[in-house]
């Protein structure tokens, strides 16, 4: 393992029709670290994840994941990346198992590994019963779990998760947290964006808070609270995004 961060951005920015969604973002996420992105709606979290996933081209700055960048090492880098967007890109008329087979083939996963991981993840995420049914009738939560399972079947070195717990039931959220921590222990670097402060506080090693495309605060949950006089993460968030009216009473 080298000291080179798994994810490193310098002055990263993305402009849409004259408006900067992300500005001057400097980020360094260590290998095996679980980094949480917090921010209001439209703060630039999804744009950052899309830039890291290689779906968007930066308007400014540079980024490197595992020492590779999308411009020069596009496919080699993507082989190491797993991206779970907010809306899972499922095919309505494929079954869950068929969808996993499609994703696995895109990432060149051998059949034996695919089937072995698929069975384990389906059991873990409680998808086994629905695995051979068309995705068409699946709930949002099941869709998210299926896409997460499909991405994990590819054994990514870096996992990018956009609002992964939205729409999941409490049991699934718990299993998701355990699964993500397990992935990190196994050496996977995880960067997740979320609105759920509790989740961020419980699972993330470090947290970055984005406001209007700019990283306004960064540190471990304990460091962030200490910097703001030991207040809750909610107060830290409100202060860092400039949208709070001070600490909540009680």
């Amino acid at each position: 393992m080298t000291d080179e961060p798994a994810i490193r951005t310098r002055g990263l920015g993305r402009e849409f029709a004259g408006r900067w969604a992300v500005r001057s973002l400097d980020l360094a996420v260590a290998r095996g670290e679980l980094y949480g992105f917090l921010g209001q709606n439209g703060a630039g979290k999804t744009t950052t994840l899309r830039l890291l996933a290689g779906l968007l081209r930066p308007s400014a700055g540079e980024l490197a994941i595992l020492g590779l960048d999308h411009g020069r090492h596009g496919r080699a880098l993507k082989q190491q990346l797993g991206f779970v967007p907010d809306t899972p890109p499922l095919h309505e008329y494929l079954t869950g198992r068929q969808y996993v087979a499609l994703v696995a083939s895109l990432w060149h996963v051998p059949r034996r590994d695919r089937d072995e991981r698929c069975e384990r993840l389906f059991a873990l995420l409680d998808l086994a019963d629905a695995a051979d049914e068309l995705c068409k009738g699946w709930s949002h939560g099941m869709r998210k779990k299926l896409h997460l399972a499909a991405v994990l079947v590819t054994a990514p070195a870096v996992l990018l998760l956009d609002e992964p717990t939205t729409g999941l039931d409490p049991v699934s959220v718990r299993r998701f947290k355990d699964l993500v921590r397990e992935q990190c222990r196994a050496g996977t670097t995880v960067l997740l964006s979320t609105h759920v402060l509790d989740t961020a506080e419980q699972v993330c090693d470090r947290i970055g808070i984005l406001a209007r495309g700019v990283l306004t605060a960064e540190g471990t949950p304990a460091e962030l609270r200490a910097r703001h006089g030991g207040r809750s993460l909610e107060d830290v968030f409100l202060a860092a995004t400039g949208s709070g009216d001070g600490p909540a009473a009680g």
Partner: protein, 544 residues
């Protein structure tokens, strides 16, 4: 009025974005082109004094109402198509239904909005297809302003009542009989309506212009629906500066009655939607594992699975088979070829099958265009974030399309053998030529279906760039252009036949060369098309 205002606002907002402008321009340009093509066909017909005189005689001087009735026929045809194919989905599966159903508005308001949307679209189509012919007829009859003022009334009355009735019937059916069988029936009807409309349009635009005028001229007044007849009478009398009260009463009465019936049915809509959503999905396949790991093979299998596991798509293929057999049975477009005494029987049969194959492929080619990129719109981010080679994904998709394009080939071969009595040798020759043609179609499809001008990548997804009409026109023109050498060869043969008699032995001797030429041509176009398509596909998958 809130829903109507929202729809109008959405329409008004279209020019504000690049995608909206493309959609708007594409639709207007497409419909304008269609109207111009339709008008040019009609103008050609009316310049034939022999046909016009014959029509005048056969209708006992009533040629104007007869022709106006024929001209207004696109109104109910467009309404039937949109009512069964588009409005049906809107009625029960529109994404906005969730909002409409949860809003504190009357239960009939949502279906009324669907009717308004469908009416708007139907009127656009009806205006493009019927108005040019009606205007030409009225201008030739020296009609005054009254007739022109009544033309919009005729278009509305020809379109909206039928649409309202179709929607009302569907609501009532779903309300009381929702379930697996009805979903299948509705999906089949929608597929039939779509294919039927495309066929009618293709035959209208590319069929012989004289044939269409000759039909009423030789058989007398064609049998028109009574509503169309009333509107034709109304317009014909208005062309003489008179208003026919009976006809006007009939037209307005029909409009009022259909809207009243729709209103009664619309009140059942909330319960109908509930029952539709509760009804089981019609087809479900249970399969475990067994999928390959090679990317092209998985993509090919995925495309085929989406057809086999999607009831609507599967029914579309069955409906298409019925349609092709019907075309073969009725010898549409190929009657003169088969009756041509100058051609040896085998040659006539091969030419007829090739013509029918061309028509069949034209009907499905546009649908396959979406398969290459557009239908993966919401899933595009998956391909973008994957480390796979774009050309491998495209190869899988083209392989699946090739398998699906074998369907028209098989149908025509079977139809040709059955209805034209083609010998096994003639069928084999046709299959060889059609395989070359299929390769040509794939080559054209690979380029057009991935063109970044026609398919636009958006934020993590993909959307239609140049709207359907332009894409369809480009595809049809591209396909025709790619087949130009074959057409040129056929015209040369026809020219040769004017002076020389061709015997069966010569046809047999040349058949392998023709098949070889077709295959070679197909391979060249497919190779070029795939190379260009792969470049396009890479550009579509590149980060923005």
């Amino acid at each position: 009025m809130g829903l109507l205002r929202a729809d109008l606002q959405a329409l008004a907002n279209l020019p504000a974005t690049a995608a909206g402008r493309r959609q708007l321009l594409g639709t207007l340009f497409g419909l304008g082109m269609l109207g111009a093509l339709w008008w040019s066909v009609v103008a050609t017909m009316h310049q034939d004094p022999h046909l016009v005189a014959m029509l005048h005689r056969s209708t006992h001087g009533l040629s104007l109402p007869t022709l106006l009735g024929t001209a207004l026929l696109p109104c109910p045809i467009a309404a039937t198509w949109l009512g069964l194919a588009l409005a049906q989905r809107q009625l029960f599966e529109a994404p906005e239904l969730l909002l409409w159903r949860s809003a504190p508005i009357a239960g009939w308001r949502a279906p009324l909005q669907v009717l308004l949307r469908a009416s708007f679209l139907s009127l656009l189509w009806a205006s493009a297809l019927a108005a040019p012919w009606c205007m030409t007829l009225l201008a030739e009859a020296g009609a005054g302003p009254l007739a022109y003022c009544l033309l919009p009334v005729a278009l509305v009355a020809g379109t909206v009542p039928l649409l309202a009735m179709l929607l009302a019937v569907q609501i009532v059916l779903v309300r009381f009989f929702a379930g697996r069988v009805l979903r299948l029936v509705l999906a089949a009807t929608a597929a039939l309506a779509s294919v039927g409309f495309s066929t009618w349009l293709l035959l209208g635009l590319f069929g012989s212009a004289e044939q269409r005028l000759a039909a009423p001229a030789t058989t007398g007044a064609p049998h028109l629906p009574w509503t169309i007849e009333a509107m034709a009478t109304l317009l014909a009398t208005a062309a003489r500066g008179q208003l026919e009260p009976d006809a006007l009463r009939q037209v307005l009465g029909w409009l009022g009655l259909s809207l009243a019936l729709f209103w009664f049915a619309a009140r059942l809509h909330p319960r109908a939607v509930e029952r539709h959503l509760a009804a089981e999905s019609p087809l479900r396949r249970r399969r475990r594992g067994g999928w390959p790991t090679s990317l092209a093979a998985v993509v090919r299998r995925k495309e085929l699975a989406q057809v086999l596991q999607q009831p609507g798509a599967l029914l579309g293929f069955v409906t298409f088979a019925v349609l092709v057999f019907a075309l073969a049975d009725r010898r549409v477009l190929v009657g003169p070829l088969l009756a041509d005494r100058r051609l040896p029987a085998e040659l006539a049969q091969v030419a007829a099958m090739a013509t029918l194959w061309f028509l069949a492929v034209m009907l499905v080619l546009y649908a396959h265009m979406g398969r290459l990129a557009l239908w993966d719109g919401p899933q595009w981010s998956l391909y973008q974030s994957a480390p796979a080679l774009p050309r491998t994904i495209l190869r899988g998709k083209l392989e699946a399309t090739a398998v699906l394009l074998a369907w028209p080939l098989l149908l025509v071969a079977a139809g040709g053998a059955h209805w034209y009595g083609a010998s096994p040798r003639a069928v084999l020759t046709f299959v060889g030529i059609a395989v070359g043609g299929t390769l040509t179609a794939l080559g054209v499809l690979a380029v057009v279906g991935t063109s970044p001008r026609l398919v636009q990548p958006t934020d993590g997804a993909i959307a239609q760039g140049g709207r359907g009409f332009i894409a369809a026109l480009v595809l049809v023109l591209g396909f025709q252009l790619a087949l130009a050498p074959a057409l040129f060869a056929w015209f040369e043969l026809e020219r040769h036949l004017r002076t020389t008699r061709l015997d069966a032995a010569t046809v047999r001797a040349f058949a392998p060369w023709v098949v070889g030429g077709a295959l070679l041509h197909g391979l060249v176009v497919a190779a070029l098309g795939t190379a260009l398509g792969a470049r396009n596909f890479r550009r579509l998958l590149a980060p923005r």
